[in-house]
């Protein structure tokens, strides 16, 4: 497996941007990353996009306004680790010698409120057993009880 290097990073500010679309938010991160390493989009050979709620062909939509160069784009959903999963796919592909340079991007835009844990079965959702913070709070309760 070849050594792989991260040569550029870019980020859109974290926050609520009602006037910006999902693809505008993702696009800004990609443009900044390209500026960071001084490489233009045509040099990129593959792209991986991590998102949970971004919808079908999320990476394709983000990158459509960056450049349409016919490269393979793969979208990945891995819950909170979706962005890392995109990075991992790029790392494997380059390390394995399939590409020399790839882009890993992630974006999210969603409504206020608790994240719907759609990975859980319907009966748990109907019973109210899908409150993410309640899971973490139970770990904390144990820590406190053991003190």
């Amino acid at each position: 497996m070849r050594k792989v290097y991260i040569i550029g990073v870019g980020m859109h500010k974290m926050g609520r941007f009602p006037e910006e679309s999902f693809r505008e938010i993702g696009r800004e991160a990609v443009i900044r990353a390209l500026e960071d390493c001084g490489i233009t989009w045509p040099k990129i050979q593959a792209a991986f996009c991590g998102t949970v709620f971004g919808g079908m062909a999320a990476g394709h939509r983000v990158l459509q306004w960056v450049g349409l160069t016919g490269i393979p784009i793969v979208n990945v959903e891995n819950a909170c680790a979706s962005g890392v999963a995109a990075l991992r796919l790029a790392w494997h592909a380059i390390g394995g010698g399939i590409y020399d340079i790839a882009c890993a991007v992630g974006a999210e835009k969603r409504a206020r409120g608790f994240i719907p844990l759609t990975g859980q079965p319907m009966w748990k959702r109907r019973a109210g057993m899908v409150m993410g913070p309640a899971f973490y709070a139970q770990e904390k309760a144990l820590t406190i009880a053991r003190c």
Binding site: G113, F114, I115, P116, L117, P121, M122, W123, R125, R126, A127, G128, M129, V130, M131, A134, F135, A137, Q138, E139, A141, L142, A145
Partner: protein
């Protein structure tokens, strides 16, 4: 009607009181709830159906003070917890107690069935909870 078939027996089905339906691997002994056909350890279809103990200990708990996302139609606040059963399994569950100050890690709890809500067709949707005892 139960919130999900196959999670628990109704009172009088196979025993006087309801029981949770789990799986146990015939090879390694691992216990699962809800029931599942494959053993996660052995990666083989080596599980058989078992009934879980009705009593256990409260391993941890938390109060939910905001409406969970999705289809929840019960009251707020309510408490959730993890119950440890003698079979060596810990189960996430709803608790009957809404007041978190009444709960304690390690307290004895027992299985009960309760109506979670009434659906649009007027059916009572029944789920399982654990009750301090």
């Amino acid at each position: 009607m139960p919130v999900q078939e196959g999670l628990f027996t109704m009172p009088g089905d196979t025993s006087e009181e309801s029981e949770l339906i789990g799986s146990k691997c015939k090879v390694c002994g691992e216990v699962f709830f809800p029931q599942q056909p494959m053993c996660a350890n052995c990666c083989q279809p080596t599980t058989e159906e078992i009934r879980l103990s009705r009593k256990g200990k409260l391993y941890s708990y938390s109060a939910v003070r905001n409406k969970p996302p999705g289809d929840y139609r019960g009251t707020i606040p309510f408490c959730v917890g993890i119950v440890e059963l003698p079979e060596g399994i810990r189960i996430p569950t709803l608790l009957t107690e809404d007041d978190i100050s009444k709960l304690l890690v390690g307290m004895n709890v027992a299985l009960v069935l309760e109506v979670l809500f009434v659906d649009d067709e007027g059916n009572e949707i029944i789920g399982f909870k654990f009750k301090p005892c």
